[in-house]
Amino acid sequence: MTRGWFVFAVSVLLSGRGAQAQTIAIIHAKAWTMTAATPVENATVVITDGKITSLAADAAPPAGAQVIDAKGRPVTPGLVNPATHLGLIEVSAATETVDTATKAATLGAAFDVQYAINPNSALIQLARADGVTRAISYPVSSGVAPFSGTGVLLRFARSGDPIERAGVGVFAVIGGPSGEAGGSRAAQWKLLRLALDAARTGLAAAASPTTRTPDFLALEPVLAGKVPLAITANRESDIRQAIKLAADYSLRVIIIGGADAWLAADALAAARIPVILDPEANLPGNFDELGARLDNAASLHEAGVSVAIVVLSGIHQSYNAGESMRAGAGLAVANGLPYIEGLRSITTVPAQIWGLGARCGTLAAGQDGDLVVWDGDPLEPSSAAVTVLVDGKEVSLVTRQTELRDRYLPKAGLIATPRRP
């Protein structure tokens, strides 16, 4: 039997599904499975047909597998960015390249950004090279306060449409720096409740088909508890209102921001409401954030609240969507969050919050083959991804930035750059 035939035979045996099986094995990995608090040293992670099939210490890779030697470096699940505008922003100052907001008065919850996603965005390219394999991209504001619209789940495979699932959740904003939407937060909460009431009535079986407006239809899965209502809010009073809203309407609510969330930690834990927060937020950027502090993540975790991490302030939420969430998690760990929870806050927890726990966020067998090999501690901002796999396939780490670098290094009289190992 030739070697090729041997590989073929093994592949058939491994996959049990015929000749197309593709097996890739990462060897000598320091594998952070996320299902345990400590890494598996010298692990071999096997991915077959895009799914993790095994992870074991000191195991030999399957014969015929494509082997990637991690050389003892950390391996984690792909990062899951829980709240970004990837695919909706290119150059934020060039407004025609920005699709995050609409003033169309007819679109509220139904302002659905799936139609605007740009798979060729340079921001996506960089996020993926920085280890982001999935992201929730969401709108900023709609024509109907306090709704921002409907978000989309993206997955950054080697090629193809990045939209994995549209209608992943409805987003709303309460309060904020100027309280523009609705003028008063009292109006914002009432408008939100009235919209939910109207949608429930309008969608009732007895109602006329003409009452099934786009906004009502967008709220249908929210009212059914199938997708979350993600509310950007920072002030304690708004966080407590969100908890009340979730109870009154039996909604799945997620808090984004949550500067004051630590003040309502027990109530959030009791209501099983997760928080997507920015660990860098320790200054009161506005009056809603007077409680901002560095150990928000640690306090919430201690109280039993699920915490996912993203950097919301400045440009990093989209422009450095991978690097910044790692740095944010590192900062949260520096301020009391256990190390493993820091890693989970950018992988497992965001996956769970968005209902993806069965697909991604750990290195357990059966999970998607979305993994990252890092050149150092993933929570150190100075570390970087050296290999990124999506769906069991290595994706390119070349970006506009690396191409610019490689063009100008020699021109600066410096050596031509070596490729990342």
């Binding site: 720096p177 422009y319 690097e323 929570l379 410096l414 990342r420």
Partner: protein, 479 residues
């Protein structure tokens, strides 16, 4: 600028002298009025004790790394650095396992003027810039600084001991900067770095032309910006000439003071350092050309995201760049920003600083340096800690004209230094103790001893402590 110290009484005396002057006067008797600081520093060092820090990993800011090193501080000055220093009668601070660096210098801050918390009142009338005219060279940012901005205390608690507060980049001539120490104070004078010069913030590219252009005003183009800058400096040349004639006695009456031209004349004399906001490589070299035309030096370009494309010209002009590690893309002039920018300029022999431009980044300038250096290392450039610490210590000290006082740990320098819990370039490391002029300005183990900003009094209790993490167990950095 080497400010000429003058009490207000002296100034008045000078004014009387000037107004009384008739006919020829002895040359140089009256200083050029724009070289006098009418609002001098009233800063007083905090209470201090002499101390010997022992056993630290020292990055001296000048390029040296000293293991198991000691630092002797007396009367607010560094007296000696070395191994096994033996001194009696001083407090010994055990720094084994910890790192010591010069105090961090943020060469581009808006603390105190970018209002925190931001309110609707700031939307059209923020104190960060006077935007009624593209030439705001007559404005002094020190007149706007809110010393109770919580950004100052978090900067201090993260190792920052000196900041240059700059006005924003909407006007072409944005106004004069002020250099401060982030110490508790009820007014800016008590924060001003004694004897430090001023800078002039200038801006090129998208910000001025888009803001004024949208209002139907000049400039609405890059060429319009350069034309206005050149026209202003032509006037300033005449203004300076008139003052020179008066100074030399060739002219009997003093020229009429013009606050805008005062500033620009100060640039021409070299007394005021130009800190210029520019991104694109062509903008950088265009402005170097304007500076050469009028005979002044641009001390530093700020942001300079395309500096890596014109390293040679920057080096030749002796102009530094103050940059971020990774900001990119949000305006057209930033689309070519790359993470290796700092490392490339540095490796090619240029002068690099990391800046913040943000109260958030301003708490983690070490991490900015770490990220920029790591990108350089991955491109094959050698960027050791003892080298890159210069980006946030000695390089900005020099750009601020304060290199003989701060930015390095050497005998005679001000004892502005930080004892870090570990490697300052790790996200897990914290500033344990921060000293300014040898005085303990912040101590992480007793944060309640250090007053936070007035703003946070009466708020949720934790906010009164600048660093709310005390009392939590030490973090075990993960390998």
């Amino acid at each position: 600028m080497k400010w000429i110290y003058a009490s207000r009484a002296c100034l008045m005396a000078a004014a009387v002298c000037v107004s009384a002057a008739t006919g020829a006067r002895p040359a140089g008797r009256v200083p050029l009025p724009f070289t006098i600081d009418p609002y001098p520093s009233t800063y007083q060092p905090l209470p201090r004790t002499d101390m010997l820090i022992v056993g630290a990993t020292i990055l001296d800011g000048a390029g040296q790394r000293i293991e198991d090193g000691d630092v002797l501080v007396r009367d607010g000055k560094v007296v000696a650095i070395g191994h096994g220093l033996k001194v009696k009668g001083v407090t010994v601070v055990d720094a084994h396992g910890r790192w010591v660096t010069p105090g961090i210098i943020d060469v581009h801050s808006h603390d105190g003027v970018y209002s925190i918390p931001s309110t609707s009142g700031d939307v059209d009338s923020s104190d960060v810039s006077e935007i009624s005219d593209p030439n705001a060279a007559d404005t002094w940012i020190e007149h706007a600084v809110n010393t109770q901005d919580p950004a100052f205390s978090v900067a201090l608690s993260s190792g920052v001991t000196t900041l240059q507060i700059l006005p924003g980049s909407t006007p072409l001539f944005s106004g004069r900067s002020v250099i401060v120490k982030p110490v508790p104070a009820a007014d800016i004078h008590a924060m001003k770095f004694p004897g430090a010069g001023q800078g002039l913030k200038m801006a090129c590219g998208e910000n001025p032309k888009s803001f004024f252009g949208e209002k139907g005003r000049a400039p609405n183009s890059r060429q319009g910006e350069v034309a206005l800058v050149r026209a202003a400096f032509l006037k300033a040349q005449d203004y300076l000439q008139a003052w020179r004639e008066y100074e030399s006695g060739a002219r009997s009456k003093p020229p009429a003071r013009d606050l805008k031209l005062d500033t620009l004349a100060g640039v021409l004399t070299g007394d005021i350092a130009v800190h210029m906001h520019c991104y694109r490589s062509g903008d950088l070299t265009t402005m170097l050309g304007v500076a050469a035309e009028f005979g002044f030096r641009i001390r530093a370009f700020h942001h300079a995201t395309e500096a890596y494309k014109v390293v040679g010209q920057l080096k030749k002009a002796g102009t530094c760049v103050a940059v971020w590690s990774d900001w990119w893309g949000f305006k057209m002039e930033l689309v070519d920003a790359i993470r290796e920018n700092a490392a490339i300029v540095d490796a090619a022999g240029g002068c690099v600083m990391m800046h913040s431009d943000s109260a958030t980044v301003g708490q983690r300038l070490t991490i900015e340096a770490a990220k920029a250096a790591a990108a350089g290392r991955r491109a094959g450039l050698n960027m050791p800690p003892e080298h890159i610490i210069r980006w946030i210590t000695s390089a900005p000290a020099k750009a601020l004209g304060l290199e003989d006082r701060i930015g390095t740990l050497a005998a005679g320098r001000n004892a502005d230094l930080v004892i870090w819990s570990g490697d300052p370039f790790s996200i897990y490391t914290k500033a344990d103790q921060v000293f300014i002029d040898g005085a303990l300005a912040y101590d992480r183990s007793t944060p309640q001893r250090f007053p936070g900003p007035d703003l946070l009094l009466g708020r949720p209790e934790s906010r009164r402590v600048p660093d709310p993490v005390s009392g939590r167990p030490e973090v075990e950095p993960h390998p």
